[in-house]
């Protein structure tokens, strides 16, 4: 019987950071991820928070694959905010253009919070996002529904 070769920790590390390791040979890689910029958010999350990982050139980088399932929906959420030119708590609490993005995030995180068999920390993170964004986006949603009931959500 053939044994499938399992990658060792050092081969995994090499494959994950190949672009970074090749930098001195290539003469720089502006679009490569800065490994030290990963996991600087709430509870060590990668994308769930204001400190997204960055590229060598300082722009946001979404190439890192998070280990927490609750950390995936914020990638799409951040991009949707980016598309409408919104960011930060002012985007969550005040910007009506982000209502669609907020409720999509809530739906995705709600699904994760209800997943049986998932580690409790991942489910709790997802639940915290549902509560925080849910209540945070509620006043602007009510305001939009009363001021422009036929406008729909972005």
């Amino acid at each position: 019987m053939l044994n499938e070769a399992q990658p060792t920790w050092w081969t995994s590390f090499f494959l994950t950071n190949i672009n970074y390791l090749m930098m001195p040979i290539r003469g720089g890689c502006p679009s490569c991820l800065v490994p030290s910029s990963v996991g600087h958010n709430w509870f060590g999350q990668t994308y769930l928070g204001p400190n997204n990982p960055v590229s060598q050139d300082g722009s946001d980088n979404f190439s890192y694959r998070p280990t927490n399932l609750a950390d995936y929906p914020p990638v799409g959420h951040d991009r949707r905010y980016f598309n409408v030119g919104a960011s930060g708590p002012s985007g969550v609490f005040l910007n009506q253009k982000t209502i669609g993005a907020d409720y999509k995030l809530i739906a995705e995180e709600f699904e994760i919070a209800n997943m049986q068999g998932l580690p409790i920390n991942q489910r709790l993170t997802a639940a915290a996002v549902v509560i925080g964004i849910g209540f945070g986006a509620l006043p602007k949603t009510i305001n939009l529904l009363f001021t422009q009931p036929a406008s729909g959500f972005a």
Binding site: P50, N51, D57, S59, D78, N83, G91, A101, G136
Partner: protein, 168 residues
């Protein structure tokens, strides 16, 4: 009378705790890109603003980054809005400034410039976010320096909108 007074205090306390909790979660989630960056509003289209900044860089060679290849470029993270990243070099301080420019979504004759972060030295990957990695005093000093060295030299009227982490 006393009972209803205690009840009011408890209800008020619960409401305050709920509001603070939601605000705390909102601040920690802070979606979008570069919420800490200092934001400036211009009453000209982004293409014109980019052109003016590039002109300033060409006229003042000290703003050009030596040795490393770091061209100004459009971002590929957004499919809708086009964000243009600009790098300016402070030769005396040996620092690289990272900015981006984008059009307003609704009003195309309006644009925004965000002063995002600063890289110490010419080795990339040592970025420090303005309004976050620096103290408040240092950030204010760097913002004022940026306005003096770059924005005022553009000769275009602008409004400082602060950063997105503040909602008041």
């Amino acid at each position: 009378m006393k009972r209803s007074y205690i009840k009011t205090i408890i209800i008020t306390g619960i409401i305050i705790i709920c509001v603070v909790t939601v605000m705390y979660i909102g601040y920690n989630i802070a979606p979008g890109m570069n919420p800490y960056s200092e934001r400036y509003e211009f009453n000209i289209p982004s293409s014109q603003l980019i052109e003016n900044i590039e002109k300033l860089k060409n006229e003042n060679q000290v703003y050009k980054i030596p040795q490393i290849d770091l061209p100004d470029h459009y971002d590929n993270n957004s499919t809708v809005t086009r964000y243009y990243h600009i790098y300016i070099y402070y030769s005396k301080e040996n620092k690289i400034l990272h900015l981006w420019v984008a059009n307003d979504i609704e009003n195309k004759s309006k644009s925004y410039l965000n002063f995002v972060d600063i890289n110490d030295g010419l080795q990339l990957g040592h970025w420090k976010k303005i309004n976050h990695d620096y103290s408040k005093n240092e950030s204010t000093k760097l913002i004022n320096q940026f306005e003096e060295k770059v924005l005022k030299k553009l000769g275009i009227k602008y409004i400082n909108k602060g950063n997105s982490m503040s909602i008041f």
